[in-house]
């Protein structure tokens, strides 16, 4: 029996982010689909629909105490019953409560045999209140997990936040979850095919979204090369998201990309030094010193920059200058001759990060299995999601997989055909080691 599994979309987001608006939209949209909705106990779907079932979230831990095996008992019961109906559904939507950890609901579709045989997790859609998420994103592990688990993120209520804030938010979220597709919305208005029937996971599209996600990470986010006359200049910053920021000023030989690249490694080393704290009004001198700018005061903050001689200088900053409205002033504002944005590692900032791996070559299935088994056993609780497309030796088809914590679901799909065989995968989670993961994966290639 190969029955098509019914796709399930999980909708997460904090209270007030727009989940109910989105649900009502999905139910009233003329998409010709028969959709069943499992609404959370506080949900208030306005649409009259007999296929809305209200559920009280019941998280079942297993007797063996493994966190990766927690499931939503209420969903198993309700969906088990719904799937017996003659009038089958084309799609199932599950709304979680605001503070829900997405793991148990996602795991339900991997752990329970009955659910697994009839339903397939199509995607996790997280809706974010673009104005109010700042209150949570630093401190709330729930908010971080909801972002990290998502396949699609809607930045909602963008009409209520200045565009520059939304840009910053998108950059921030992109760091936590580079594999998600991000859309900006007002009143949760989004085309249905962007949130329903994602067909599981498409890494190619993730790579399109963020070509940087496989790049190395840097301890800084931005560098700009300025042509400075000898003497004093001002680095002016406005209020931003952080109370301090690291920066370094390094002389370069030429105001060119090559010139910047030549000092990049010096900057990395400088950024690994102990910070030298400086308050507004203090001076930064060019060289191998890492300054920690104190930005805790309200309003405009000025730091002096002393150029001992005229020439090119690269300013490396921990965050993008736009986040602080930062600019360099001589007698007038100065623009950098060239600038570059880096993929930051942000480990001190967000615990949630991702590791992308892309490598040509064929995999030894046995080695891969052993590595994955070991990895998931030891690191399962820290790995929120993983997804990928793999080339397995002697198999003409692509092997696609996704996982939640320790749980793994994969199968061969189309043949590679003319596309070059390669492996792309991504891990999203806490305390992930890029080096360990990359080296471990490399060992699985056919020698």
């Amino acid at each position: 029996m190969t029955q098509d599994r019914v796709p399930v979309t999980v909708l997460t987001g904090f209270l007030g982010s727009g989940k109910t608006t989105l649900l009502n939209r999905i139910l009233t949209e003329n998409h010709g689909k028969r959709i069943a909705v499992i609404e959370n106990e506080f949900g208030e779907i306005g649409v009259d629909n007999e296929l809305v079932v209200n559920a009280e979230e019941e998280i079942f831990e297993m007797n063996n105490g493994c966190i990766c095996c927690t499931v939503r008992g209420d969903l198993i019961r309700i969906l088990g019953s719904l799937m017996k109906r003659k009038d089958r559904f084309d799609h199932i939507l599950i709304e979680t409560t605001g503070l829900a950890d997405p793991a148990p609901v996602a795991q339900t579709f991997f752990v329970d045999d009955e659910m697994r045989s009839q339903l397939a997790l199509d995607g996790i859609v997280t809706i974010v209140d673009a104005k109010h998420i700042w209150q949570h994103i630093d401190d709330s592990s729930e908010a971080q997990e909801q972002v990290a688990f998502a396949d699609v993120i809607l930045l909602n209520k963008i009409d209520l936040a200045p565009p520059s804030d939304v840009d910053r938010l998108e950059a921030r979220i992109r760091l936590m979850n580079p594999a998600a597709r991000i859309y900006r919305t007002q009143n949760a208005a989004v085309e249905m095919d962007r949130i329903l029937n994602l067909g599981g996971f498409n890494l190619d599209r993730a790579l399109e979204v963020d070509p940087m996600f496989l790049e190395p990470e840097y301890p800084f986010e931005w560098a700009g090369v300025y042509q400075l006359a000898a003497g004093a200049h001002d680095l002016v910053l406005r209020d931003g998201p952080d109370r301090s920021m690291n920066a370094a000023l390094i002389p370069v030989r030429a105001a060119s990309h090559e010139g910047l690249e030549a000092v990049q490694m010096d900057a990395v080393l400088t950024f690994s030094d102990k910070e030298c704290p400086v308050a507004p009004g203090a001076a930064l001198t060019p060289g191998a010193t890492l300054y920690q700018l104190d930005l805790s005061a309200k309003g405009e903050k000025r730091f002096r920059i002393e150029a001992p001689a005229g020439g090119s200088y690269a300013l490396f900053t921990e965050h993008h200058p736009d986040e602080f409205g930062a600019a360099l002033h001589g007698s007038a504002p100065l623009a950098p001759v060239i600038s570059k944005t880096y993929k930051p590692d942000h480990e001190h900032d967000d615990q949630v990060s991702s590791v992308g791996i892309t490598m040509p070559g064929d995999l030894d299935e046995k080695k891969l299995n052993n590595w994955l088994r070991e990895l998931l056993m030891n690191k399962g609780p820290d790995i929120f999601r993983m997804k990928g497309v793999l080339a397995i030796r002697n198999d003409p088809r692509r092997f696609v997989f996704q996982g939640v914590h320790m749980l793994f679901d994969g199968q061969p799909d189309r043949v590679w055909g003319t596309e070059p065989r390669h492996n792309s995968l991504i891990f999203i989670g806490r305390n992930l080691s890029r080096v360990e993961l990359t080296e471990g994966f490399k060992e699985c290639l056919v020698a």
Binding site: E56, R85, K86, D113
Partner: protein
């Protein structure tokens, strides 16, 4: 698919069909009246149909809007109780089909209605709410809410004592007291309860792919783990010696005599071509065990030391329910495709 193990279903003579009825919807419950004169079948879409023992369709009850989930006959066979997704329990006159009472059982789906084996008491479970009613529709007790949704309610076969299953606990109650008789704490989700006919042991099937035994007198507990899937199918034989369990494509029968089942090798029965077991039913007094699978097959076994498959039958769709008539002479089997068949296995044994 290459490499996939497909087990040939073993051959055996066919079960003799007595009658059948097409109901055109997934049968979620099938139950004989206590005197064996009628058979009720509840459909997932809501309707409940009552047949006489020869297959004449006596009643078509509307059941519950959106879906019926449970069914129970009163001991005298005159009242039928149903529970459904409309968060109601209902009492029906089993002769006329008239709706007698609508019981406010709670705010959630009524997963279980269970009449006591004798007398006039009905327990209902809706979400975390457990209530006790008389057959006249009077609310006798509204118990303190359970810590999580009640997954099963089962009366002891020969006593006015019932057990409830939920996440985290198995609890027993007597009708006369609002307090539980005993709460058996267990960290996990209990899905199904089976009392041994002698009342000494309560077996449960669990979400974490295990079967748990609680011995009421000694307080001894026992757990059998390692099933491939969650266990919802349980059936004791008449002597309280054998417990048949599902949770796999193989029927596992534990011998609970002596010091067993701890440390013993269970009897394993393979009759469903590698597809999951969906229903199990030992005879009320006889030795035969019926198993039903997702493959739509019904297998009749004599599980002892010379275990053998004695009869088989097949239904369209997946098998969902098996019920022996009280005199063990008829076996009702129902399927997801809405087929209800009544067999007469006697001639096979």
């Amino acid at each position: 698919m290459p490499g996939r193990l497909t087990l040939e279903a073993p051959a055996a003579p066919g079960l003799e069909l007595e009658w059948e009825a097409g109901l055109d919807d997934h049968v979620v419950r099938a139950a004989w009246s206590p005197d064996g004169s009628r058979l009720a079948a509840a459909l997932i879409g809501g309707p409940v149909v009552v047949f006489d023992c020869d297959g004449r369709r006596l009643l078509d009850l509307p059941g519950h809007e959106f879906g019926t989930l449970s069914l129970s006959w009163r001991a005298d066979g005159r009242v039928l109780a149903t529970g459904g997704q409309d968060s109601r329990a209902r009492l029906w006159d089993a002769a006329s089909g008239r709706r007698l009472h609508d019981l406010e059982s709670g705010k959630h789906w009524v997963e279980r209605v269970a009449f006591a084996p004798f007398g006039d008491l009905l327990a209902t479970a809706s979400g975390r709410a457990l209530r006790l009613w008389s057959g006249a529709g009077d609310l006798l007790a509204d118990y303190a809410p359970h810590p999580s949704t009640i997954a099963d309610v089962q009366w002891q076969p020969n006593d006015l004592l019932f057990a409830t299953a939920a996440y985290g606990q198995l609890t027993t109650f007597r009708p006369e007291s609002p307090q539980p008789v005993k709460r058996y704490a267990w960290k996990g989700s209990i899905l199904a309860i089976a009392w041994s006919p002698d009342g000494n042991c309560i077996a449960t099937g669990n979400q974490d792919s295990s079967v748990h035994f609680w011995y009421r007198k000694t307080g001894r507990e026992l757990e059998m783990t390692g099933y491939p899937a969650k266990v919802r199918e349980l059936s004791w034989d008449a002597t309280s010696r054998y417990l048949a369990t599902g949770g796999a494509s193989t029927v596992t029968v534990w011998d609970c005599s002596g010091k067993g089942p701890a440390g013993t090798r269970p009897i394993q029965l393979n009759g469903h071509a590698g597809r999951p077991i969906r229903a199990l039913a030992f005879q009320h007094n006889g030795p035969f065990l019926a198993s039903g699978g997702q493959d739509g097959r019904v297998c009749l076994w004599l599980p002892d030391k010379h275990t053998r498959l004695v009869r088989v039958a097949e239904l369209p769709g997946e098998l969902t329910q098996l019920a022996w008539a009280p005199d063990d002479r008829k076996l009702a089997a129902a399927s997801s495709a809405g087929m209800l068949r009544v067999f007469r296995p006697e001639s096979g044994s």
